[in-house]
């Protein structure tokens, strides 16, 4: 991520120079009709601009990025060793309990990290930034995608750091398995971030958003079998957990970490993840397009 201090935004398709409008009046020439390819290019460019804005915000707040890692790190360091002692837990790890545990912690990171991004949107609603941006011709979709992509990037960075620590602690897994697991987690984060923005837009104040968030995230986390695989659960709990999408993602990531790509969990997880992405981004897009034509 190339970012300079304060100053020039650079990126693909920078269109300074000729092609703009006359000195007086808005630059009409530069903004072609928003249809077809031109509209798509415009959306892509706007998404990049919005992404950069929030990526910079993230860089200004490095402490916050680090703090986002403390909870999963604590789980890894203070709880992980315990689990590896229990060892040979049914269906876990295949000799290396870290293989079962780390994917769960990654999903937890996605759930909590990306789940809370709605607070940033509420702050922007309050300061008037959202309204200011909506009066510009910026693509409405870019306002969502730019943010969500930043959130996904942040999560991938945090996940990689967490994985490095896990390897030090004793995780042994095939590299491509880890990579596939990471893709699952990234897509999950993207979905959760979109949903978080939808909820933030709907509630609009922290006082309503915060309790709603904790009510939703805790059962989702417990039911997805993050700490121990749901295959260990009694029948009724196992059944309930099958209705929560994250379970499939966790199971798929675990299979990937084992390098077991023939496992049906991988296919199930992939299907659920794709569906989750489609549904959440659609909801987010609709929410961001609403209210003004």
């Amino acid at each position: 991520m190339a970012t300079t201090t304060t100053g020039t935004l650079t990126g693909p398709g920078d269109e300074d120079g000729p092609g703009g409008g006359p000195a007086s009046g808005p630059p009409d020439g530069a903004v072609a009709a928003t249809s077809g390819r031109a509209g798509l290019a415009r959306t892509a460019r706007d998404t990049w601009l919005i992404f950069l804005r929030y990526a910079r915000q993230m860089l200004r707040n490095k402490v916050g990025v680090a703090f986002g890692l403390t909870q999963p790190l604590l789980y890894l360091v203070l709880f992980g060793p315990l689990l590896s002692r229990v060892g040979g837990v049914q269906g876990a790890g295949g000799g290396n309990t870290w293989r079962a545990f780390v994917p769960g912690i990654l999903v937890q990171l996605a759930l909590f990290g990306a789940g809370f991004v709605g607070f940033g949107l509420i702050a922007d609603l309050r300061s008037g930034v959202v309204e200011r941006l909506r009066v510009t011709p910026v693509s409405r979709l870019a306002l969502l995608l730019g943010r969500v992509l930043r959130d996904t990037l942040l999560l991938v960075v945090q996940a990689v750091m967490l994985l490095a620590v896990s390897v030090v602690l004793g995780l042994r897994a095939p590299l491509w398995g880890i990579a596939v697991g990471l893709v699952f987690v990234a897509l999950l984060a993207l979905s959760i971030a979109s949903l978080s923005y939808v909820l933030a837009m709907a509630t609009r104040v922290e006082d309503a958003f915060a309790p709603l968030l904790s009510t939703v995230t805790l059962p989702l986390m417990l039911l997805s079998g993050i700490i121990l695989p749901m295959s260990m659960a009694p029948g009724w709990l196992d059944t309930v957990s099958r209705f929560t999408p994250f379970r499939y993602v966790v199971d798929a990531a675990r299979a990937a970490f084992r390098g077991d790509f023939s496992s049906p969990s991988v296919l199930e997880g992939a299907a659920v993840t794709v569906a989750l992405v489609v549904v959440s981004v659609t909801l987010g897009t609709r929410r961001f397009l609403r209210e003004n034509a």
């Binding site: 808005p26 630059p27 930034v129 200011r132 034509a293």
Partner: protein
Amino acid sequence: MIEARGLARTFTGKRGTVEAVRGVDLSVASGEIVGFLGPNGAGKTTTLRMLTTLLAPTAGTATVAGRDLRSDPAGVRRRIGYVAQGGGTDPSVPAAEELELQARLYRVPGAAERIGELARRLDLDGEGLLARPSSAMSGGQRRRLDIALGLVHRPPLVFLDEPTTGLDPQSRGNLWEHIRRLRDHDGTTVFLTTHYLDEADALCDRILIIDQGRIVAEGSPAELKRRVSGDVVTVELAASGAPLDQVAARARTALADHPAVREAAVLDGSLRLTVEDGERSLMSLLRALDEAGVELAALRMARPTLDDVFLTVTGRSLRDAA
């Protein structure tokens, strides 16, 4: 620059529907500073949000900066600037970054030069000022930054929502200067809302008064005052030989048929006249009195204030209504 017909917005909430704006017709010509005056809750901001594409009208049509509000909101957005009441900057983002993002989103050619130019014009070019986030700026600086953000793409039409609310008197006066310069220097049309009478009076070429979701009066500040109240001219008479009563009676007869005089009353040896367009008719009033041989001791003229106007058209004082 703006043509709106029957623009209306109702909000449906738990406690039934609220008609925030009930059919607003308005026209704004190019190069005008138009003030939208009314108490809080009169529908000013709702109207503004409709005209700036932030809120879809429930009824009515409007053309804003040459584009149809309903069928081409994107076209409207490209041609207008909007500065919200509370501004629109993230308190932690350096001002320069906000301006640059804004310029890129509008695809402003030569963004860096444009930002430099705006900073000079709006007195934001102080040492290191633009490197600061808005939370480290004074109220006046923050307001000027908000305005710079709204002007970065050189819009022919700019909307300012309560631009001087919360500023100290010196910053207010300073901001008025900047707004006037927009009109005089760039020919920008400015549409602003305010609930300050002095601001509307000092700054605006034309005023629209809105109350309870409807426009109840419009005109230049002078026109409005003239149309609604008339000026009050008080003539103190000199008792030169004849008793004061007789002088007063003579004076009143002399002015009874004067076309500018709407009302004439004698009060404690002085004559109180309600006069249309006092400034212009004063000379001919004096001439008529002189011809009738009436001597004057003193002469006073009081112009009505916009508050008088507001009182007349709504039956309430603006201060009470707010």
